[in-house]
């Protein structure tokens, strides 16, 4: 696909590629979580990938990587929304000078109102209802809090439950049942309702058990000025500063999450302090300006490269030249 694009555009046109996920690196739908232990993985190799997928040989994994890298070699610049994501791709073999970190831009929104409340004990989960998004870790933590009679409430918004494997759905249903005193399952939500959802929440919980790259929900929380309680790994750890704009807990550890939540809701001042320290997210118009500038730079660089330094693919057959506009 990339090479087709390059053949069509010719060598003079820069190609910028925004990296959204880890599919080129990880055969497990880019999750970077090992099939053997369900632990996050940050060291791909033909041998380790073969351990995750015994039916695929190490040689095949090697070829897969070289093949994808060959396709990606036609790209002039990669844009990674998080340093974590950038580092993974550079470790994997993309030339470091080709990969820059640049957060996704956000269109401006009016922040949801912050209601005066005696307790900051309302949590919200917004995301795919899947194993990797860690919703069950959150429910297990809620179960502990409920058993300890902690005054806390959590709303769960999310979709695609029907696409999940049976064992996950069963566990999710059982946990919902066990936590019905403190958790309300709201199902799918309309993006327009986000301000209302945020208005009703004090904390946004991002409990993913995989690295994430740059979760949009963290930016949305920042736009609505809600502190985030996030797993202490990958893109989440990078985007939420522990004790500054939110809190970290030990990824995939419900007991630790319960502890962090319990501490967070019992300390009124903490919430105010964290909220004050939330930085506004990267603005879309700034993002667009930056991309335009980078594109122009690359265009200029390419024009200054002598033609014979480029390996020119066969000229694409085109009939556009024959068309005359009066």
């Amino acid at each position: 696909m990339l090479r087709e694009l390059r053949n069509t555009l010719g060598d003079e046109v820069p190609i910028l590629y925004t990296l959204h996920e880890f599919l080129p690196i990880c055969h497990r739908n880019g999750q970077l979580v090992r099939t053997t232990s369900e632990k996050p993985c940050r060291e791909e190799s033909p041998r380790r990938c073969h351990e995750c997928f015994p039916e695929v040989s190490p040689q095949a994994f090697f070829m897969r990587k070289r093949f994808i890298q060959s396709q990606m070699s036609v790209v002039d610049r990669f844009i990674a929304p998080s340093s974590f994501l950038r580092d993974r791709f550079v470790d994997w073999g993309l030339p470091a000078e080709k990969v820059v970190t640049e957060e996704y831009g956000r269109l401006p929104v009016t922040a949801a109102p912050t209601r005066e409340r005696r307790k900051r004990n309302r949590l919200v989960f917004i995301g795919q209802l899947s194993y990797f998004k860690g919703v069950n870790v959150l429910l297990k933590a809620m179960k502990r809090l409920q058993d300890d009679d902690v005054d806390v409430h959590c709303s769960v918004y999310g979709a695609n439950l029907e696409l999940q494997p049976d064992d996950f759905r069963t566990e999710f249903a059982e946990l919902l049942e066990a936590t019905k005193a403190t958790v309300s399952f709201e199902g799918e939500f309309n993006h327009d309702d986000l301000p209302t959802i945020m208005a009703d929440a004090d904390w946004v919980v991002v409990p993913s058990v995989w690295w994430e790259n740059s979760p949009l929900v963290i930016q949305e929380a920042a736009q609505h000025r809600r502190p985030v309680i996030a797993s202490d790994i990958g893109g989440m750890a990078e985007k939420v500063h522990d004790g500054v704009s939110g809190l970290h807990f030990k990824a995939a550890d419900p007991a630790n999450l319960a502890e962090v939540i319990s501490g967070a809701i019992s300390n009124r001042k903490l919430w105010d302090e964290l909220q004050r320290q939330i930085e506004p997210p990267y603005a879309m118009d700034e993002h667009v300006r930056s991309l335009t500038r980078q594109y122009k730079e690359l265009l200029a660089t390419k024009a200054s490269v002598g033609e014979d330094e480029l390996v020119t693919p066969p000229a694409p057959v085109t009939e556009i030249e024959d068309v005359r506009y009066a």
Binding site: R3, N7, F62, R66, S70, V311, P313, P314
Partner: protein
């Protein structure tokens, strides 16, 4: 009737110089029938067969027979000819059994004439009928405890029209065997003793009351044999035995198995009966497998050549890559070659050795050329021929001065490798073959040259890759030097030299030892083999074949290789030690 005979003789005179196109036993009979005045004797039969040998029988032979038989109605003629057996029996009854056997032998010689007769099946059928008429069956034998003679014909594998691999057992409680003979349906007799491979058959021996007197060689036999004349019929094989007292017995044989690949697998599996390469068994397995390999090779011709893009004029190097099974490797290679301008300056020839994948490859090859823009050709073989055939066929299309034999599962680590190999090759005066460093997917050494090793006590020589599994940066593996041999996974050789030595030899089974065989043949011509570590490629081996099949074949290849090269390897090993 005498007229008809004369006419025939006259024609024969004209055609003396020509070889027969077909010989039907019916014609022999016809002539005997024609010679009414006297009883036929062996001398007449000889003359007549000899006459037939020298004259062609065309479409008019039916008419000739009609004339010879003095004009009965065609329908009647047909029915008489159809009953060939009784005709022969009737006419040649006066001959002794030995004389009749000699007539059969003459028929066999006639059938083997060059060029080969056209209607081989018709000929075989006629000969089989003649055999039935002329051969005296021996008393049969049954497998019974108190029966002194026991005989069993297990299998006949057809390797070719006139080469077979037979298997069975024979035991005798009375006297040693003096003769063990197989008879083809067409009447050719093949004497198995003394050369056939014998093996003990304790299972058979323990069944009988009397101990066997057939000797220490063992009750079972198996091996390669040649019939001298084509044998195409599947039914009618016979196994005969005779002991020192003159007692002779026979048993019917099984149906012939003509599946070459099944035959090869069965023959190769016999190798487990021995633990050494220099036994009588190999004297049978090698010619048998060599025949099979030759036939497989003949079947694998270039059927079509597809061209994608224009190969550069005056390319220095021609790269030949066999594709077997995994046609997806084509894209994996092109996706790397696209980064390397040198590859666009070379001639790239893929050889499809899996003809069943031709239509799939045709679809993808065109798309891949459009995508990557690296020009290449695809030669499609008519049948799977194996590694050496595929390479040889590809090389026959090459026009570069240098030839690079490359496996489809080899991909370069970085551009520039091909030019470096070519320059090095051209700098060495006495070079024959050149091989680079090959790596496993985990950056350990797959190949840094090959040497030969044998277990203490003189077993078979095995190929040993230097430093296999050690890290790619191992200093000892980074020395450019002469080695006994290099891997055919990536091997450079001057095209002229490759053609001079006749390319890779197809006697090895499925991609093993052809490369070292080539290096040893080059060595015989005082050509050196070099290892060039500055060039590094990945060899992602072992994805095309099932492992078990490889193991069965590799024992054969190892033993054959040692059988061919024992002395030369000793010398090569001493020279590079």
């Amino acid at each position: 009737m005498p007229e008809a005979k004369l006419e025939r003789d006259a024609e024969a005179g004209e055609e003396t110089a020509r070889a027969p196109q077909a010989l039907l036993a019916a014609d022999v009979v016809a002539i005997h029938v024609a010679a009414e005045e006297s009883e036929p004797d062996l001398a007449t039969a000889r003359v007549e067969v000899a006459t037939l040998l020298r004259r062609p029988l065309g479409e008019d032979s039916g008419e000739l027979i009609v004339a010879v038989l003095d004009g009965p109605a065609p329908a009647e003629l047909r029915s008489r000819c159809a009953d060939l057996r009784s005709l022969l029996r009737e006419r040649l009854a006066v001959l002794s059994s030995a004389e009749r056997a000699e007539v059969l032998e003459l028929l066999g010689e006639a059938a083997n004439a060059e060029p080969a007769p056209q209607d081989l099946v018709g000929l075989s059928t006629s000969r089989a009928l003649a055999r039935e008429a002329l051969r005296d069956p021996l008393p049969p034998t049954a497998v019974e405890r108190d029966e002194p003679q026991g005989l069993h014909f297990d299998s006949v594998l057809a390797l070719d029209d006139d080469a077979f691999y037979v298997r069975g057992w024979a035991r005798d409680g009375q006297a040693p065997l003096t003769r063990l003979t197989v008879v083809t349906p067409e009447g050719s007799r093949i004497e198995l003793l003394p050369g056939i491979y014998r093996e003990p058959r304790p299972d058979v021996d323990s069944f009988y009351e009397e101990p066997t007197r057939t000797g220490a060689e063992g009750t079972g036999f198996l091996g390669h044999c040649e019939s001298g004349a084509p044998s195409l019929l599947s039914d009618g094989w016979v196994l005969e035995m005779e002991n020192a007292l003159g007692v002779a017995r026979e048993v019917p044989g099984p149906q012939v198995n003509r599946d070459l690949l099944a035959a090869r697998a069965a023959i190769l599996s016999d190798l487990h009966k021995e633990s050494s390469w220099d036994t009588v068994l190999m004297d049978h397995v090698v010619p048998a497998v060599t025949r099979i390999q030759r036939r497989l090779e003949e079947r694998a011709q270039i059927k079509e050549v597809w061209e994608y893009g224009e190969a550069p004029a005056n390319a220095k190097t021609s790269i030949v890559v066999p594709l077997y099974g995994r046609i997806d490797f084509l894209e994996h290679q092109l996706a790397q070659f696209v980064h390397d301008p040198e590859l666009r300056g070379s001639e790239l020839i893929y050889v499809l050795d899996s003809p069943e994948l031709a239509s799939a490859l045709e679809v993808s090859a065109g798309q891949l050329f459009e995508l990557y823009g690296v020009p290449f050709r695809v030669a499609v073989l008519s049948q799977n021929g194996g590694y050496s055939v595929a390479n040889n066929r590809g090389a026959s299309l090459a026009s570069g001065e240098l030839l690079l034999l490359l496996n489809s599962d080899v991909i370069p680590d970085a551009p520039g490798w091909l030019g470096r190999m070519a320059s090095f090759y051209e700098e060495q005066e006495a070079i024959g073959a050149l091989g680079p460093k090959l790596l496993f997917e985990d950056d350990t050494l797959q190949h840094a040259g090959i040497r030969f090793q044998r277990p203490p006590g003189g077993g078979a020589w095995e190929n040993e890759h230097y430093f296999k599994g050690l890290h790619r940066d191992l200093p000892a593996a980074n020395v450019t030097r002469q080695v006994p041999a290099v891997s055919g996974a990536c091997l450079m050789i001057a095209r002229e030299l490759f053609e001079e030595v006749g390319g890779l030899r197809g006697m090895f089974v499925q991609g093993d030892y052809e490369d070292t065989d080539l290096c040893l043949r080059l060595r015989q011509r005082s050509r050196e083999t070099w290892y060039l570590p500055e060039v590094e490629l990945y060899h992602l081996e072992g994805q095309s074949y099932a492992l078990e099949t490889r193991q069965a074949m590799s024992r054969y290849n190892v033993w054959l290789h040692t059988r061919l090269w024992d002395e030369e390897i000793e010398a090569a090993t001493a020279a590079t030690a």
